[in-house]
């Protein structure tokens, strides 16, 4: 393969994609949407926080009755409440607007509802009654317990750290699952974002009638490999563009977004699963790329390519329908089938690799399968492009393409007799 031509193809294909306005409109649409979503979340969180605080601290003039014995007059007075012994009168006052609200605490608030009556203040402001009624009850209960420690424990405000062991060693737990799971995420993003471009990459040559010029100027393998590399680079650009607002959001607006403070130093990078994950990602990428490019070489238009594209995309999502089975019983027959069926293998094997249920032997078999079939698909794609892309307006017969064998070298290169 000519190194010079490969570089030329990669440069041309990459630059003509990333210098298009359409590319940046499509690529930036997602980060812009993410930024807008983040902004809405921040605004919403601040509003909610303010509203909750306002509601909690709101001073109401209310009356109450208490059969539980939890709410004392002292506690209620702090919130603006006055005990009543005539619930019907209290309700009538609310109806007439003479009082803001009346709270009826039952004998057992754990099983019986607290009844709240209030004058209408609008959908959002009406929430104040509920918030104040709860706050009064909680304050009364805390007063009854009279212990900050018991109060915190009763509220579930405790921290738990856990340690598990595997083969006598401390296992990574969820911190060991996350890193190899990232390969699955990258695989999905790459295939979903680049799938259509893979499919249509050689269609352009066909639709524009460029094929014959190309086939007589360079080896088709160079073109296909160059296109795949450029697609990969385009994918990297897109992923970085997508990731940037997320990283910025996490680093600088974490508290505003209510995102958990993940300590990355706790993540466990186990060499085995990381290497297997990398190889599964690469093998899966090559297999899907080769297949999609081959489909593009067979069909005459983008529209017809869609018929093949949809089922292929479906196959990579199907394993998620049995994800609980993959996690709980990785040796079930259906999981085994999904592990070895080429087009569901990357996702299933990456899931199992993350959860530590993919044995070294299974890993080796799946990786070998993906790479062998991936390169076979790429070779097939080159062959189909070579013989299919000059069938400009009709679908290539696979039988025709696959049975067109080159004449034996001895015959092709035999010296002529002049």
């Amino acid at each position: 393969m000519s190194q010079h031509n490969l570089k030329t193809v990669v440069g041309f294909e990459f630059l003509r994609t990333v210098t298009k306005k359409r590319f940046w409109l499509a690529t930036l649409a997602i980060p812009v949407a993410v930024v807008i979503a983040f902004a809405l979340i921040v605004i919403s969180n601040e509003t909610t926080s303010t509203t909750a605080s306002n509601q909690k601290n709101a001073q109401l003039t209310f009356t109450f009755s208490d059969d539980s014995g939890l709410v004392t007059d002292a506690v209620a007075t702090v919130f603006g409440g006055t005990r009543t012994t005539d619930p019907e009168r209290a309700i009538a006052d609310v109806k007439s607007g003479a009082a803001d609200a009346y709270f009826a605490y039952p004998a057992n608030p754990a099983t019986q509802p607290v009844r709240v009556y209030g004058t209408d203040r609008g959908i959002f402001e009406n929430g104040t009654y509920d918030a104040v009624a709860r706050a009064v009850l909680v304050a009364g209960a805390q007063k009854k317990i009279d212990s900050p420690q018991l109060t915190a424990v009763a509220a579930g405000n405790v921290t738990v750290t856990s340690q598990s062991y595997k083969d006598g060693k401390v296992s990574g737990g969820i911190n060991a699952v996350i890193p190899p799971m990232l390969f699955l995420l990258i695989f999905y993003v790459a295939i979903i974002m680049l799938g259509n471009q893979m499919l249509s990459s050689t269609l352009e040559e066909k639709e524009n009638r460029v094929t014959e010029m190309i086939l007589t100027t360079m080896n088709p393998t160079t073109l296909i490999v160059g296109k795949v590399i450029s697609l990969f680079l385009v994918g990297l650009v897109q992923m970085l563009t997508f990731a940037l607002p997320v990283i910025v959001g996490y680093l600088f607006f974490r508290s505003n977004l209510n995102l958990p403070d993940v300590d990355l130093s706790h993540l466990t990078l186990e060499p085995g699963p990381m290497i297997v994950g990398t190889l599964l990602l690469l093998g899966g990428f090559i297999l899907f790329t080769g297949t999609l490019v081959a489909i593009g070489a067979v069909v005459p238009t983008v529209k017809e390519a869609g018929v093949f594209f949809a089922p292929l995309m479906l196959v990579i999502f199907i394993p998620f329908y049995i994800v609980s089975l993959i996690v709980s019983d990785p040796h079930a027959l259906i999981v085994q089938v999904f592990t070895y069926f080429p087009y569901s293998a990357p996702v299933t094997a990456m899931l199992r690799n993350s959860f530590g249920s993919l044995s070294p032997t299974e890993s080796a078999v799946v990786i070998a399968e993906l790479f062998i079939l991936g390169f076979a698909a790429l070779r097939l794609a080159v062959r189909l492009f070579r013989y299919g892309s000059i069938s400009y307006s009709k679908k290539l017969s696979l039988r025709d393409a696959l049975t067109r064998r080159r004449a034996p070298r001895a015959v092709r290169d035999a010296p002529h007799d002049g």
Binding site: N5, F12, N208, T217, I390, R405
Partner: protein, 310 residues
């Protein structure tokens, strides 16, 4: 093939070429050579297999049988052969700018980026498209796109130029420009194989031709040889008085004082003129003309409808 052909190795050598598509045999048994530096006309009716032959020569199709060599080998793009091919089904990357596409193909043909850029700008200037360098190809007219296509074809001074119906889509002015460019390439030493239905262009440019019919060569040789094989020169005579009977010629057409004569084998036109004058015929004009390729084409393919497979 003449005996002398074996002395110099031809640039293109096709021997016993056969091409089947399914049950249909498009080319049955075709053999010919194209010599270094010559302009070769590849003629035939639509669908007779000309494009198929070119595609097989360039490795786009795999031949069913036979040898198709360029410089003694099956063509592979990686061989670095300086080849310019203008296919019948042609197009370029329509959504890219003219200059980007030209530079891309220039780079694929082995030029450096600065050389490819400089060459492209010079060419665009030559074909009056200098102001379109940054324009997307799909914004150009069909004729302008054809010019760009030709430019891409002749980049890096090809030693073999294969043109499949090059004048398709050109108006007369641009056709003349195209022919000038082809002649320049020829003068620069390029070997040219040209598929065309413009017989006047063949007569003007081609050294040798092949006529393809029903998958085999109907005629093959120099233009003159082919013309002679379909009847020698015709004498067109304006005269007064009756013509004498003679064994030097046959009368093929006669009307008042105009007669067409076909010289018999071995007879020179000068002998006929002397004979006429000797018999007292008053000759007002005496011109010789060969059977045109147009006439030959009509004679060979006149009864043929389009075939499948080209």
């Amino acid at each position: 093939m003449n005996q002398g052909d074996a002395v110099e190795e031809p640039l293109v050598h096709i021997d016993g070429f056969r091409m089947d598509f399914g049950d249909q045999s498009v080319i049955r048994d075709l053999s010919f050579d194209v010599r270094e530096g010559e302009t070769f006309g590849f003629l035939g009716s639509n669908g007779c297999g000309k494009t198929t032959t070119l595609r097989a020569l360039l490795g786009i199709y795999q031949p069913t049988a036979g040898t198709l060599h360029i410089r003694g080998k099956v063509f592979e793009p990686r061989d670095g052969a300086r080849l310019g091919y203008l296919p019948e089904e042609r197009g370029l990357y329509k959504k890219e700018s003219v200059l980007d596409v030209m530079v891309y193909f220039g780079r694929l043909k082995g030029l450096s980026r600065p050389d490819a850029t400089a060459w492209s700008r010079t060419y665009l200037d030559r074909v009056a498209l200098a102001d379109k360098a940054a324009t997307r190809l799909d914004k150009l007219s069909g004729g302008q796109q054809q010019k760009i296509q030709l430019g891409v074809t002749i980049m890096n001074d090809p030693e073999l130029l294969i043109l499949d119906e090059p004048t398709q889509g050109f108006d007369p002015v641009n056709r003349r420009l195209l022919m000038d460019i082809i002649e320049e390439q020829k003068r620069a030493g390029a070997t040219v194989i040209m598929v065309t239905h413009q017989m006047d262009e063949v007569e003007r440019l081609c050294d040798r031709v092949i006529l393809l019919k029903d998958g085999v060569a109907e005629a093959y040789g120099t233009v003159e040889d082919v013309q002679n094989s379909y009847g020698g020169p015709v004498i067109r005579l304006q005269h007064s008085g009756p013509l004498p009977a003679s064994d030097l010629y046959d009368v093929t057409a006669a009307q008042h004082d105009y007669t067409e004569l076909t010289p018999r084998a071995g007879t020179d036109e000068a002998d006929i003129l002397r004979d006429l004058v000797g018999h007292g015929v008053l000759v007002r004009s005496f011109t010789t003309a060969r059977t045109s390729l147009e006439e030959i084409f009509l004679r060979v393919y006149g009864d043929q409808s389009e075939q499948v497979g080209a």
